[in-house]
């Protein structure tokens, strides 16, 4: 094995240097410093330090994985080398920052706080040594992790992951539980500072390990096997989840209701874009345009400021939906023959044109120009006015349930199958008798209607429509959440919205880095898990087409595209 040792450590060194560069970048863009304010375990480790630790962990893990585990020493060695290399880069950064304080006039985040953080308050050369040794040790420990049996390894990783997750959200958990009276009092010992206490962390880890052990023994199944439930069971679980959803705002309080409202708006838009992108395969980057049209139409119809119609919110809603559907068709017609990335660019152009038109003075009397439209009506039922976030939550919930239901029914309908056939291959779809024109236009129209509804609720929520709210970034956010959840997957939209809209709202430090993380998430998801977190069946097959062909796995056999297309045709 001696002859292989040179390439192994070279590979480990390379991975470590890459990991170190990423860690240094995280530090220099300010992420480490900002997240250092959020403790994971109070007084022991912060989230910022966790980022640096994760760089060591991941590099060492990747290196040890590649080195193989035939001999114990290679995995350990590879882990240690990679870890030490990460430490070398981070320590080197500290050294550079200490030697050249003027760096801060260029890289604004190379602050003294960051330096103190990276050097543990020691002199920079000492810190460099600490980083290399600590990185090497942590890396070796990671390598050792690979040598354990899978059960033990997954238990340790799950426990660590759970502690980090609970620690990150500790702030919020404490806020929520403190409203619960006695239970909140009883749980106070778990938190310290802005994180978990040491005892709390140990308890979280122990609980996770215990659950893991129990599940491995197969004793209590936490989740019943999907797909084999009787209608009564389905109804029951549906009723229970509805009741839980309905109880959320009073339990979680105003701030969390606001977050849930955000998530709800994005779920609505996500469900719509999921039809266009996920089902029909038409990459639409101008989706925000329909959202804007919905909000502005609502303003035009209800706002006394513009003084055209002064309708009530409910009276205006059908008109708003009709107009957005019409706009979906009108903008869809020109792009019928355009495919792929060209479609993306054209729709992006449409979205930006709509925003610039709203922003310009050319349409001033109808859109209010740069100042936007104010005094948009709130929806009312009888004397009940949806005027704050907790009340609007129910409107959004109803909207999400309705659109979710429509989306599921559409997916399983003849039209849904036509969309998917078109997504797989337009020419074949046309050859088997699918009318591409109407199928595409229906996709655009349905997607637009969902966005229009979302826009109408958004307008009611803030009581105004400003051109700044309809930036291209909204389209990108929606696209990102669909991709993270899994293209074409309806539960995926909800997971994606919770992960990409809900989670960042909870971590307020995150706001500054939100788009950075979205961008990275898009790239990483495409590289490592293109089918998304909760993939739909079809997407999984499509994305792993090549692998299925080469491996000729038995799983891929019953799901041949040809069979599916036949079903669509009949």
């Amino acid at each position: 094995m001696r002859s292989y040792s040179a390439p192994v450590w070279q590979m480990a060194l390379k991975l470590g240097l890459i990991g170190g560069a990423v860690a240094a970048l995280l530090a220099l863009i300010g992420m480490v410093e900002v997240f250092n304010q959020r403790a994971i375990i109070g007084g022991v480790i912060s989230m910022g330090q966790t980022f640096l630790g994760l760089a060591v962990l991941l590099s060492a893990y990747a290196a040890a994985r590649r080195a193989g585990t035939q001999t114990r020493s290679t995995a350990l060695l590879a882990g240690a080398v990679a870890g030490a290399a990460v430490g070398l880069v981070i320590g080197g950064l500290a050294l550079l920052m200490a030697a050249w304080p003027d760096l801060r006039t260029i890289l604004i985040n190379a602050s003294p706080t960051l330096l103190a953080l990276l050097t543990f308050g020691q002199a920079a050369p000492v810190a460099l040594a600490i980083w290399i040794v600590a990185g090497g040790l942590l890396g070796a420990a990671t390598g050792a992790l690979l040598l354990l049996t899978p059960a033990v390894r997954s238990a340790i990783l799950a426990a660590l992951g759970a502690v980090v997750l609970v620690g990150v959200l500790a702030d919020l958990l404490r806020l929520i539980t403190s409203a619960w009276g006695v239970i909140g009092q009883a749980l106070r010992w778990m938190f310290a500072g802005r994180g978990l206490s040491v005892a709390g962390a140990l308890v979280v880890a122990a609980v996770v390990v215990l659950i893991g052990v129990l599940r491995q023994r197969g004793l209590p199944k936490l989740q019943p096997a999907a797909g084999r439930r009787s209608p009564r069971q389905t109804l029951l679980s549906l009723a229970i989840s509805l009741a839980i959803l309905a109880l959320l705002p009073p339990v979680l309080g105003t701030y969390m209701s606001e977050v849930l409202d955000q998530v709800g708006l994005y779920v609505l838009m996500g469900l719509g874009l999921n039809i266009v992108v996920g089902f029909a395969g038409l990459l639409d980057l101008g989706y925000v345009g329909f959202y804007a049209i919905g909000a502005y139409m609502m303003g035009l119809l209800t706002s006394p400021e513009l003084g055209f119609f002064n309708l009530s919110w409910w009276a205006a809603l059908p008109i708003v939906l009709a107009v957005t559907i019409l706009s979906g068709v009108v903008l869809g017609i020109p792009v019928l023959k355009v495919r792929g990335d060209y479609l993306a660019i054209i729709t992006l152009g449409f979205g930006e044109m709509i925003r610039y038109l709203a922003l310009s003075n050319a349409l001033d009397p109808y859109t209010g120009g740069p100042q936007g439209v104010q005094l948009i009506a709130k929806p009312t039922i009888g004397s009940f006015v949806f005027d704050d976030v907790t009340k609007l939550y129910y409107l959004l919930l109803a909207g999400c349930l309705l659109t979710g239901f429509i989306a599921i029914r559409l997916r399983d309908s003849r039209l849904g199958r036509a969309w998917m056939a078109m997504r797989e291959d337009e020419d074949v779809a046309q050859a088997i008798g699918i009318n591409l024109v109407s199928t595409k236009l229906l996709a655009f129209a349905t997607g637009a209607a969902f966005a229009g509804l979302s826009g109408a609720i958004f307008a009611a929520k803030i009581g105004a429509a400003y051109p700044q709210s309809f930036h291209l970034l909204v389209s990108i956010n929606v696209l990102a959440l669909i991709i993270v959840g899994g293209m074409g997957s309806i539960p995926g939209v909800i997971v994606g919205a919770l992960a990409l809209v809900g989670l960042p709202e909870l971590l307020r430090e995150f706001a500054e880095f939100r788009l950075l993380v979205y961008g990275v998430v898009l790239v990483v998801m495409m590289l490592y898990r293109p089918e998304g977190l909760l993939p739909s069946e079809a997407a999984r097959r499509e994305m792993h087409e090549d692998e299925n062909v080469t491996e000729e796995s038995a799983l891929a056999q019953p799901a041949e595209p040809a069979i599916q297309l036949e079903r669509t045709a009949t």
Binding site: K337, G340, M353, L357, S360, N361, A362, L516, L527
Partner: protein, 353 residues
């Protein structure tokens, strides 16, 4: 035969033709009305055209990056606008250092060349990095996948640079030699505009010679024709693709400095609008076509500079200059719909996409 043609026509095509005819009539009507009103004098039109040419030559340089990559990989490098931003944003600090040491005052030409080199180098490195991380692992993935990573890479880069250098607007030091104006055949040209136009044309000429005459350029053309065949001829396809990204990146970095000469400032978001305009220029000229990108860039620059005054003013639209970007986007959409092959290109939008 004629019957089926007629039946097909009566559907969506009719609407499309109607849109096309309406736009054409609106443009002609607006132009005539503006010219008849005599609101703008000849020197004003000349100013607009010269400004458009300078702006357009910057678009053309960026467009070359889109076109080179499209020609080889048949993909839109969405992150190119951030490659363009990274160069001048980084070179700003070089310029500031040179300015503080007084070097930029003493020898402005050498100083600006150093700044330009720094900008080109940064953009080149970023372009190669993007290719390596976001595109190369996905060479054989379904078509939507690299497009999505490109969008992701674009946002990630934008906010990495925002994190590194801050979100403020930085002003480049102003140089005395770029102040003032010249008159060429009675047309007023600002010095900066002249420098921009000449430098852009020189760079494009260098690129054209490189692609057409050098061995690497020949390999690039071979790879864009047929990757597999090129590989069989002993061309290292991955290396050529990386070179293509590098060349496009360097041009974008140079374009960034020219952009700075005209607008004087940089910030992390500066890439988006010029990027999308340059893409429009690439489409106008026929994407994948090197001379096309140059023609498309100049055409778009002049069109969007003159357009608001010429077409919209006559139609009685208030504050037409706000709609400059709408005109550029509308051009993009109309060209992609009615003539996706561009001014000088082959038809690509439906076939190869």
């Amino acid at each position: 035969m004629l019957k089926t043609w007629f039946r097909r026509l009566s559907g969506t095509d009719l609407i499309m033709y109607a849109i096309g005819v309406t736009v054409t009539i609106a443009i002609i009507w607006g132009s005539l009305a503006t010219l008849a009103s005599g609101k703008y004098s000849l020197p004003q039109w000349q100013d607009l055209v010269v400004f458009g040419l300078a702006q357009g030559s910057i678009y053309a340089l960026i467009a070359l990056g889109y076109t080179l990559v499209y020609g080889i990989l048949r993909m839109i490098n969405f992150a190119h606008s951030e490659v363009f931003m990274s160069g001048p944003f980084t070179a700003y600090f070089v310029a500031r250092a040179l300015d503080q040491s007084g070097f930029l005052e003493r020898s402005p030409v050498v100083g600006m060349l150093i700044v330009t080199a720094a900008s080109m180098l940064t953009s080149l490195v970023i372009a190669i990095l993007v290719e390596r991380v976001a595109y190369r692992p996905l060479r054989n993935a379904p078509r939507l996948v690299p497009l999505i990573t490109a969008i992701g890479a674009s946002y990630a880069l934008q906010y990495v640079f925002r994190g590194l250098y801050g979100s403020g607007v930085e002003r480049y030091p102003e140089l005395a030699i770029f102040k003032g104006e010249w008159f060429l055949a009675g047309v007023r040209v600002l010095r900066t505009q002249a420098v921009v136009i000449v430098a852009a044309i020189a760079l494009m000429a260098v690129l054209y010679v490189f692609v057409m005459l050098s061995k690497t350029g020949k390999a690039m053309r071979a790879v864009s024709e047929d990757k597999d065949a090129a590989a069989l001829m002993g061309i290292d396809v991955d290396r050529i693709i990386a070179t293509t990204f590098a060349v496009g990146g360097a041009l974008a970095g140079a374009a960034g400095i020219l952009y700075v000469l005209i607008f004087g400032q940089v910030q992390f978001y500066m890439g988006f609008v010029p990027g999308i305009k340059a893409f429009t220029a690439a489409v106008l000229g026929g994407i994948g076509n090197v001379p096309g990108a140059m023609v498309g860039g100049l055409f778009l620059g002049v069109f969007e500079s003159v357009g608001p005054s010429l077409f919209l003013d006559g139609l009685g639209i208030p504050a037409p200059y706000q709609l400059k970007d709408v005109i550029a986007f509308a051009m993009l959409v109309l060209f992609l719909i009615f003539r996706p092959s561009g001014i000088l290109g082959e038809r690509l939008a439906t076939k190869k996409a």
